[in-house]
Amino acid sequence: MTAVPRPAAEDAAWARLAAIGAAILVFGLLFLLPLLAVFVEALRRGLDPALAAIADPDSLAAIRLTLLVAAISVPVNMLGGVAAAWCIAKFDFPGKRLLTTLIELPFAVSPVISGLVWVLLFGAQGWFGPWLQEHGLRIVFALPGMVLATVFVTFPYVARTLIPLMQDQGREEEEAAATLGASGFQTFRRVTLPNIRWALLSGVLLCNARAMGEFGAVSVVSGHVRGQTNTMPLHIEILYNEYQFVGAFAVAALLALLALLTLGAKLLLERLTGRRAAVHA
């Protein structure tokens, strides 16, 4: 590579440095600094008050509820996302474009509206409200509503990660499996799933990060009953509004830590798959 003239598409060194510098500056100011601030505020009075704030029964309940909502929503969206991606990538049917667009609807709609729709459907004044009340069923201001809102908001993550990959892979491997005598289920388990497993995991992790952090939609359907229908983001807001800064930031730090953990897992995964691809190349 010596004495090769600089390709026309390559910019001057100073321009590259300036671009990189700007990116680092923006990243630092807008992402890193606020994140750092959360941890600094949480630990302002030391570790013990922060841990005590997390050990508070209401905080523990919020943590439990957040994990529970994620534990229900994420598998639901994993199944739904795989099914949607499978349909869109491997089959042709009328309305396919519409479905593809609909999958992105939760990205386009404000989370508040995503929560409000469930209140409109299942709330006391909602379409199905009277019927639900007659049968003693609670959806809004209870766990089912929060799960519904979370599922709605986080649905696109898995499907959108999988669709381009599955479209790119085409259906020939599935067809080959069919000619070799495999049933639909065998084809899915032995051919389709292994081909998408890393992308699927990556989509699931993103979905999980968002499910734990969702505020707007969940806020609308939760009812904010302390110790019962408060997730971590809602609990943080309440603590903050009550001037319990250490508590608010301690829980916030924990939530941020969960998100960072998820992203770390995703990064590790990409490293591993990258290495695997390199070995096979």
């Binding site: 020939e172 067809e175 080959a176 069919a178 000619t179 070799l180 005598g181």
Partner: protein, 345 residues
């Protein structure tokens, strides 16, 4: 395993159907090429046979049995895809073993038996050393052989290959097609393969089905297709030919205003189109034509001769040593295939 195809039609949306009443009768043990220009329905026909696509009308009988209701996985037909479609996350060994592993529990061979069969197949396709590799680690020709071994693992009654040599370079192509023909002769499996390369079809197939716009234009042995094409399309599609408009009267084709002697033609009187192979257009020294080009392909000398304002491909008469550019020459038609003009393209 015989294959009978009757009235097979397949439409994709509006417009001309991909298959339009295909009729074909393949005998057991035959090696058949489906040859045609792109868009002629070759691949669609293969996919319908395999059960990967569903016809809108018509029948497919394999060994006398209508397979309309039989799904792809129950047909026991080996299919080799143009892009091979090897399972990318499995080793070569697992790819070949796949068809055995997905059998229902009762019919599934033991692990040792599977291993033995996979190794036998990899020996057969001459790549036993590749069993631990992944598809992306081997060459195109090797993938082709692995794809074939995988298809053969289910002991198919019928083998279908879609452009089996399409993605390979010229020398590998030639070696593989000779080898494939040898393999077919040893195993005796009825085989259909799609190609758009007529040399390939001519070189290895027992019979060739020429497809055109979703129909079988002619199904015959290579020599017969060449010597007795059923219509103008086949005559023009196979091999090189000079197309000469002519007029038939009283069993003779006249080429006026071109200074060519009339030739016998067994078609009704009227305008017609004659196909004359370069080898059947003989150039002799002296005459109204002018040699515009001469090129030697190692065996024969090919001449481009201008006659009037038409450029024709011809062969020098035996004994005419070294015709050159701008030499004058005369042309004689040794044999021609004449078709009525209305049916011609």
């Amino acid at each position: 395993m015989s294959v009978e195809i009757a009235g097979l039609t397949r439409r994709f949306g509006a417009g001309r159907p991909a298959l339009h009443g295909v009729e074909l009768l393949v005998r057991g043990g035959e090696f058949v090429a489906l040859l045609g220009p792109s868009g002629s329905g070759k691949t669609t026909l293969l996919r319908v046979l395999a059960g990967l696509d569903v016809p809108d009308a018509g029948q497919v009988r394999i060994d006398g049995r209508d397979v309309a209701g039989v799904p792809a996985r129950a047909r026991g037909i080996g299919f080799v895809f143009q892009s091979y479609a090897l399972f990318r996350h499995m080793t070569v060994f697992e790819n070949v073993a796949f068809g055995l592993r997905v059998r229902p529990r009762g019919a599934r061979p033991r692990e040792a038996e599977i291993a033995a069969r996979v190794r036998r197949l990899l020996e057969l396709v001459q790549v036993p050393e590749l069993e631990r590799r992944y598809p992306e680690q081997i060459s195109g020709g090797q993938r082709q052989r692995v794809a074939l071994a995988r298809a053969l693992a289910i002991e198919p009654r019928l083998l279908l290959l879609d452009e089996p040599f399409g993605a390979l370079d010229a020398q590998v192509r030639k070696d593989l097609r000779i080898w494939l023909r040898g393999l077919h002769d040893r195993l005796g499996i009825t085989t259909l393969f799609v190609t758009h390369d007529q040399d390939e079809a001519m070189a290895v197939a027992d019979r060739i089905a020429i497809l055109r716009e979703g129909r079988v234009a002619q199904f015959d042995e290579p020599a017969a297709l060449f010597d007795r094409p059923a219509d103008a399309f086949v005559a023009g599609f196979l091999g090189e030919a000079n197309r000469l408009p002519c007029r038939v009267a009283g069993g003779l084709a006249h080429f006026a205003p071109l200074p060519l002697a009339p030739v016998p033609a067994a078609v009704a009187d009227g305008p017609a189109l004659a196909f004359v192979r370069p080898a059947a257009l003989v150039a002799t020294p002296g005459g109204e034509g002018v040699v515009r080009g001469a090129r030697h392909d190692g065996r024969v000398l090919h001449l481009s001769v201008q006659l009037g304002d038409t450029l024709l491909e011809a062969t020098p008469a035996p004994g005419w040593e070294g015709p050159r550019r701008d030499d004058r020459c005369g042309l004689r038609i040794a044999s021609a295939l004449v078709f009525p003009a209305d049916a011609a393209d």
